[in-house]
Symmetry: C2
Subunit: 292 residues, 2 copies
């Protein structure tokens, strides 16, 4: 027999949690899926959409005999949720999360779930979308996507294996990294671009005659700003949670912009072309799979 799970608890049944539930159901590895959340309307919707089989709560009845718990809320809510879960978790329940930052999640686990360090295996599924909420969930969200695990030194192999197998059953390829390294890499390739995209749209949105600007915005603008339609609360939490690494990246980027501004002021066409040319070469190599 292959990999099977009995009871799965999803805390936060939005895009990430709902898609995890659907994917495990579709793979035939889920026994029962129980949803937990702060909004009754979302839970009702998740039931109606078949993401979950029933509604539970952060209590012993829901958590004690679960095989796997996924925390899929914005990262800012996770510490309080861990506190609420702590008295009710059974010793054999593996717990994972879907947070885009990992240093803060690890710190919260150490503070609020100190007796569960053997079974909490932090994860980051790299499958964001500008849509969020239960209605956006889909069974194939993780297919051919990467999931990064940042296991704790205290994790027992069975817990890591169960979490790895669950994400793999969703269709993802599973990687491992240290939490600090994870946060540094994602500050650069994900968190900073989101901040920059939000900033550009906000900058334009404040203009008096913004309609004229937006009227002529075309496909380049559309792609550059797609991520500016992302979930504000989620990205607020990510920025705060990964503040140190993100600040480092932002400052380095601001220095890069200062260099470009100087080149512009001096009319240094060669310097501009050198930057653009290297960027294009590397961007194309990346798109062709020659860099990763």
């Amino acid at each position: 027999m292959g990999f099977r799970l009995g009871k799965i608890v999803i805390v936060g049944v939005g895009l990430i949690g709902g898609s995890f539930a659907l994917a495990l159901k579709k793979a035939g590895v889920a026994g029962e899926v129980v949803g937990v959340g702060r909004s009754q309307a979302t839970l009702d919707e998740a039931l109606r959409l078949g993401l979950i089989d029933r509604v539970g709560a952060c209590d012993a009845a829901t958590l004690k005999d679960a095989d796997l718990v996924l925390l899929a809320t914005p990262v800012g809510q996770m510490p309080a949720l861990m506190q609420a879960m702590a008295p009710h978790l059974g010793p054999q329940t593996a717990v994972t999360d879907g947070g885009s930052t990992k240093g803060d999640v690890v710190a919260a686990v150490r503070q609020y779930l100190p007796k569960h360090l053997s079974h909490f295996v932090p994860a980051h599924p790299i499958a964001g979308a500008e849509n969020s909420g239960a209605a956006a969930a889909k069974a194939d969200l993780y297919v051919e996507r990467k999931v990064v695990l940042t296991p704790l030194p205290e994790n027992v192999p069975e817990a890591v294996e169960r979490v790895r197998a669950a994400w793999a059953a969703c269709g993802a390829t599973v990687h491992e990294m240290a939490p600090a390294r994870h946060d540094r890499v994602f500050a650069a390739v994900s968190h900073l671009p989101h901040l920059l995209s939000f900033a550009l749209v906000h900058d334009l949105a404040r203009r008096e005659n913004r309609e004229e600007f937006f009227r002529f915005a075309a496909s380049g603008f559309r792609d550059f700003t797609r991520i500016a339609a992302s979930h504000p609360e989620m990205w607020r939490d990510i920025c705060i949670a990964n503040k140190a690494a993100l600040l480092g990246e932002l400052e380095q980027y601001q220095r890069q912009l200062d260099e470009l501004r100087q080149a512009l002021i001096q009319g240094d066409a060669a310097a501009l072309e050198a930057v653009f040319d290297e960027a294009r070469t590397v961007r194309r190599a990346w798109a062709e799979g020659k860099l990763s």
Copy 2:
């Protein structure tokens, strides 16, 4: 009978010029299409691809009896081309261009084609793509795209009408703006985003361990940096040509980043969320056509 053109001359048979030629042929309004360019290989390719009917040069034989000339080179090459064309243009030939900046094109026309001000109607087809070159040309590039004309006060109505009709025959909707206003708007919604996207990729490309960063870059990064694969020479010229407006936009954006950096340093979650929230609202309204 509808709109018809006799001889059309395309100077620079790349994506913009080649697509213009194909679109006019497809619309059945083109008599003969003559290609002019600096690279014999490109002209041979354009002939082979059927973008042009024959190869010409910047001389009287090619230009004198043309109904329409399109300058479709990077904007940096246009002044020299205008100088070369000046002695050979016939008085009835309408001339337009495909440059992404208009103030510099207008200034070059006034300097190098002072006897042709009645017939030079500057244009900006908003149909860039990260691909360039003759091989990327396609007949539907301009369908349902916008083309902005920035007519000169000296233009005669027949010339504006011929240029407008040609772009309309390509499937575009034609707008009019003053050149300075055009350059201000496009600095904000196109030139700055390109600069920012090039800067991000360049910033990452210089890292020692760049493979690890690029390995985990996902769909948000892909969209944000699609325009960083654009033509370096073309974008160098655009930045230099629109230096004043672009510097203004860059500096305003840098102030916006400074505000976000301060909010991050202070851990001001509410300030970050307010920026993200307004950006999302406006980005979604734009995508739904409610802003333009």
